[in-house]
Subunit: 166 residues, 2 copies
């Protein structure tokens, strides 16, 4: 469990850094696929994550942070994405938005669980603040998803996004 | 598609580097969970991947390689792993071996597809050689999996591993 402030901050830093990197990749893919509009959405998201990473870093200051395992912060990719040799070609805006949304939801759930379970009020407060930030990202992605064409022909299944609940 | 030697080598290098890093993490987790035997299996696998990475690097020499997207080489993790806040605690030998096997199988399929589709005979030859190497890793993991307790209580589903086919 994330039971110390350094551990919580290490997770948060890693999650934001990972998000910024993945959003930049998604933006590249969308721009290569001639979809500058969705590309611009991801550039914005990358900027938000980068800014948040910067703010958390300021909060960390001289604190020494623990080292994390990759599974604790890396984005999950659907098998459709990882099985494909030509991910750029197959990834349509809907798929890219869904990968982003699924991972923002994971981030949201992570922060919410910390906010509920942490004993330290400072961790509780920060986790709640970060959870609400993720919730905002999910809402933004949902707006774009509602307009995106669902490419069920190339990507085997695209079930409805899961509702955000506590 | 991987249609040039530099592209193929970039993929191979990235896959082996990723495998070595993930195997080291799995070894750490198993050792923390008081399972030095399975830990040692993963240390061996990390060494094999590291050695292979080194050999490919020698083949690359002064060649300039393209930059890859993370989705093209990163290991996939099951949702059970990525949703858990305390991955070290929940990951039992069976789960760790399955994560490894699923990703070795992805690697195998990738190399087999290249071996089938590449026009360049040098790419074809290397891809076939790398595919057989992955197949050997899968066989080794299967031996350990056959002895591992299936922890269906903590990890929701653990369906049978998929047979290796062409």
């Amino acid at each position: 469990m994330t039971d110390s402030l350094p551990e919580f901050l290490a997770h948060s830093l890693a999650l934001e850094h990972e998000a910024a990197e993945r959003y930049r990749e998604l933006a590249d893919i969308m721009e290569n696929n001639l979809n500058p509009e969705v590309g611009a959405v991801f550039r914005d998201m990358a900027r938000f994550s980068g800014r948040h990473h910067h703010e958390i870093k300021a909060r960390v200051g001289a604190m020494v942070l623990p080292e994390l395992k990759s599974w604790q912060y890396r984005w999950a990719t659907p098998p459709e994405a990882t099985d494909s040799l030509d991910i750029d070609f197959f990834m349509q805006p809907y798929n890219a938005l869904r990968i982003a949304r699924d991972n923002e939801l994971r981030g949201y759930k992570y922060y919410r669980q910390i906010a509920r379970e942490a004993a330290d009020p400072e961790i509780k407060r920060l986790a709640e603040e970060f959870a609400q930030e993720e919730r905002g990202h999910i809402a933004a992605l949902d707006k774009w998803l509602a307009q995106a064409h669902r490419p069920s022909e190339t990507w085997e299944k695209d079930p409805e996004p899961v509702e955000v609940t506590d």
